[in-house]
């Protein structure tokens, strides 16, 4: 396990944007043609580097949205006061060059052999690496049971909604909409807390494996509640998006 994630130097290379697809009003999935991609694991991320005409450089990390073996794709949410994300969501188009390196990270990853049942907990765009895990599970024919609890502000903010509506066998998708719910909404309508987890999470006794990704407040609340509910801390893997306004 440890030590197998990365070998050698990660070099920058120029990828070609193959497609840009709208997921929501502020979220785009960018599919890339990467000439020298070494392959990635579900849950890893990559680094993007932008250079302006004055030589100013901005780098950011983005989770990989596609499964191992699929074309490399990232899903980016526009942060209005950001520098890199508005470029990626609003300006970038098919045929553009995009400098990147990766994959990066060997901890927040899942392989079929890691067991389960799997509990995936996403807040907002924290869904991206979990979607890679879900696709990897399906592509590898894994039958490990999965529950995905996905917290969004409104139904229109749900990323990959159509894909999740047709979830694979053995995958239960549970939505909660924290800010606004459409008429007749039958799902949850509140923030994820211990009580909600008690209803949705796998019982702690069954050696579940949890992946939590989202804003810091979400990850803190959810991971603490899981541990208090009996999940061993080492079975709760977390990844946080700091609210820095910088991505």
């Amino acid at each position: 396990m440890a030590g197998t994630a990365l070998r050698g130097r990660l070099t920058w290379q120029v990828a070609k944007v193959a497609a840009v697809a709208a997921e929501t009003a502020s979220v785009r999935t960018i599919t890339l043609d990467v000439p020298d991609w070494p392959g990635h694991r579900a849950g890893q991320h990559l680094d993007i580097r932008l250079t302006d005409e004055d030589g100013y450089v901005a780098e950011r990390s983005y989770s990989i949205a596609s499964a191992p073996g699929e074309p490399v794709a990232i899903t980016v949410e526009r942060l209005d006061d950001g520098e890199v994300s508005p470029y990626l969501t609003d300006e970038l188009r098919a045929g553009d060059d995009l400098e990147l390196r990766g994959p990066i990270g060997g901890y927040f990853v899942w392989e079929p052999g890691d067991g389960g049942p799997l509990l995936l907990l996403a807040g907002g765009s924290g869904i991206v690496p979990l979607r890679s895990i879900l696709r990897h599970r399906e592509r590898t024919g894994s039958t490990v049971p999965v529950r995905l609890l996905y917290s969004s502000r409104t139904l229109d903010d749900v990323i990959y909604r159509v894909e999740f509506d047709m979830a694979a066998s053995g995958v239960e998708v549970v939505h909660t909409l924290t800010r606004h719910q459409p008429p007749g909404w039958a799902g949850y309508a509140r923030r994820v807390d211990a009580a909600l987890l008690a209803e949705v999470a796998w019982p702690a006794a069954g050696t579940p494996l949890a992946y939590v990704c989202g804003p810091t407040s979400f990850v803190e609340a959810v991971s603490q509640a899981l541990v208090q509910g009996g999940y061993p801390p080492q079975r709760v893997k977390t990844e946080r998006f700091g609210a820095t306004g910088g991505t």
Binding site: A5, L10, L50, T51, V57, T244
Partner: protein, 201 residues
Amino acid sequence: MGPISRGFRRRRQDPAGSAGRVPPGQYVTKDFPVLSAGPTPPTALDRWSFSVGRGGQQKTWSWAEFRALPSQDVTVDIHCVTRWSKLDTAWQGVSVDMLLDLAGHDGPFAMAHCDGGYTTNLPVADLTGGKAWVAYAYDGQPLAPEHGGPARLLVPHLYFWKSAKWVRSLELRDTNEPGFWENYGYHIYGDPWREQRYAGD
């Protein structure tokens, strides 16, 4: 320099007074983002201790004993490998120089061990000479658990993952073995001014 990104314009300006203080690839934030691999492990202060050891010989302080040690107030810039830098952060803690002196142990390398099983490796030369602390207060307040409280390592001249949260011991050793993130592909040393983010940088 890499290829110019069609249509990309700089939108972010580093704040006044930051010239020469922001390493390459970093941007200044006023927030204090939280990054860690697992849940924040709470440690009750009556069960908390800090140790410095080498080869099975160790010196251990209780929370009360640790807080009774002379402390320093330091104001430093910190740099996270995820690219945020935060300037003029104010900490209170015990210098690692003092802890090593009191323990009577020396380098050449150290492994920091933390609640939750997290580890990180550092050369002792980077922990001594007034460059590193075990900090228990931030901005005049007890260090919050999500930021590593009750106490975290503070090694501001290296990327901030080296400033291990929830630190409980320093183990001195002869060899420089990789810690947690270093095993997952992050740089063995982590100098932000040389952009040592990942292995091989």
